[in-house]
Amino acid sequence: MYRLIFKRVLLGLVILWAVSVVVFLATQALPGDAARAILGRDATPERLAALQAQLHTGDPMLVQYGKWLAGTLTFDLGASLANGLPVGQYLAPRVSNSLVLMMIAAVIATPVALAVGAWSALRRDRAVDHATSLITLVLAALPEFVVGIILVLIFATGWLHVLPAVFAAGEGAVWQYPAQLVLPTLTLVLAVSPYIVRMMRAAMVEVLESEYVQQARLKGLPERTVIWRHAVPNAIGPVAQVIALQLAWLAGGVVVIEFLFRYPGIGLALMDAIGNRDLPVIQALSLLIAGLYIVVNLLADIIGLAANPKVRTAAR
């Protein structure tokens, strides 16, 4: 099993490197002078020269990539073209804001979705189950920005005026403004939950039909014990991987949600950087989001391997 995990980690690193090549090619290796493309036609010669120096556009492509990669690996990501701050310093608070949002969403979504999925399985083929199935199917279909806008129309501007439509906090950490966090969090929760609910329901249905649950019931154990001691622990294993994949999805899904609610995180920073053609920030964020995505996916794979008894016991 450890060899398998080691191979997966190695593959993850190779993919991360390949991703860095893609990001570099997509951003800097444009035909023509990248610096001129970014600054536009009416750039002053000084700014052009400064940017050319920062991007090393005078060098051959491979050397440019080497210098860029070396900078990235040492967390020297260059300076933002829009505000002159070092990219790391500019992004650090935004990364932590996004992580706060993602964490809250994950902490709420996971137990609620598991509970709903399990409940739905226990009430199999009854009204509750059908309703859950339909609601999750609808939520899974809706793009997350549509969910967010519908929530804004319901809670902020249309019917009820109970929550702010955009994030408008002053100074200080984002979690000091709980009311502002409700809608962005709720949108993310609604976006990731349906898959976990459906997976948990399917896993629970299978477990409840198994012989060991039947045996536990025949033994005369109270239903509570049957469910909590015998059914749930066995159902959660296969669901764990889906949960991890959903959390990985949050890394990318947060972009649209932050743009919609103007939440000061990596997503809004990415959209601002795109608006300003702020190349170093775009590079850093694409790499960061892809990196986060790869790491969480890797964890999902490892959980999947660990949860599979065949793999766990086979190659020791």
């Binding site: 997509a26 806008i149 459906r198 899904g253 190349l279 775009i282």
Partner: protein, 299 residues
């Protein structure tokens, strides 16, 4: 949207001729209420998008009132941020979303199916190359990949279709490859090989028809995601550019005034919502039907 399949993956089963099997799948799917509901929703939005431009009372770029006016005579949903008729822009704005999403889905699922069948049948080095290249594409969340390219090269429509399409390829290829692997083991493939049928013909004539239910489900799923992505990119301002009427762009343009003029946002949002829910209901119906068929139960 998220990457886990919402629907159970149908297992490819017994050999069947392409036409007969697909017909069976569709008919079985149509017996489910959700499939019919999905078809109605999809047809409704399709109707608006296709017939809308003919029915619109104004041109989508004509200024008819003060910006963000409320509903008035001849302007049932008011005007947008530049004083254009919201209803007319809504009726004109569906074709772009639908067309781009359909094109991206066709590219993504087409290439994905091709690569999946070839990788699953030929295996070996080719399989490794296809799947590992796919892993690199999969390392980007779909939206972030699209943003990366669109932001640098510019919001070009061909690029949008290409990026969304390419982001579907490895996902489709994985599903089709899995389905192909199960079919390749079966005797009729070995029989075809034994009598010397060409590989290309085996792939097109024996393998592809037998992964068609998996492919049909994948097509529906990818179409749903494409619609969300295309509308989402429009919403982020990287899709269609002003002054085009486009549902995603309309949401972007009018969201600042959602308190005074909610219609300009609510109309396109509901259309995108109904469309994605509709296609997903059809997809779920297809998935359920294909499982029923493969078990030999035709309920």
């Amino acid at each position: 949207m998220t990457e886990t399949a919402t629907v159970p993956t149908p297992a490819p089963g017994t050999p069947a001729t392409g036409a007969g099997r697909r017909e069976g799948l569709l008919r079985a799917a149509l017996r489910l209420r959700r499939t019919r509901a999905g078809l109605v929703l999809t047809a409704l939005v399709l109707g608006v998008a296709l017939l809308g431009p003919l029915l619109a009372p104004h041109s989508p770029t004509e200024f008819v009132a003060a910006p963000f006016s409320g509903p008035a005579d001849g302007m049932p949903f008011g005007s947008d941020q530049l004083g254009r008729d919201v209803l007319s822009r809504f009726l004109h704005g569906g074709l772009t979303v639908l067309g781009l999403a359909a094109a991206a889905t066709a590219i993504g699922v087409g290439f994905g199916a091709l690569l999946g069948v070839v990788a699953g049948y030929r295996r070996g080095v080719l399989d490794e190359i296809v799947m590992r290249t796919g892993d690199v594409v999969l390392a980007f969340p779909q939206l972030v990949a699209a943003l990366l390219f669109l932001s640098i090269i510019g919001p070009k429509l061909w690029l949008l279709v290409l990026v969304v399409g390419v982001s579907h390829v490895p996902r489709t290829a994985r599903v089709v490859r899995e389905a192909t692997l199960k079919v390749v083991e079966q005797d009729f493939v070995k029989a075809a090989e034994a009598i010397g049928v060409r590989r290309a013909k085996i792939m097109a004539g024996e393998l592809l028809p037998n992964v068609s239910s998996a492919l049909a489900v994948e097509l529906g799923l990818r179409l749903t995601y494409s619609i969300g992505l295309v509308a989402g990119l429009g919403f982020l301002g990287l899709g269609l550019q002003p002054p085009t009427a486009d549902w995603g762009l309309m949401i972007n343009e009018n969201r600042i005034a959602v308190t005074v003029q909610a219609w300009a946002v609510a109309l396109p949002v509901s259309a995108v919502a109904l469309l994605t829910v509709g296609t997903n209901l059809i997809t779920d119906g297809l998935a359920r039907a294909s499982i029923g068929i493969d078990r030999g139960v035709r309920s």
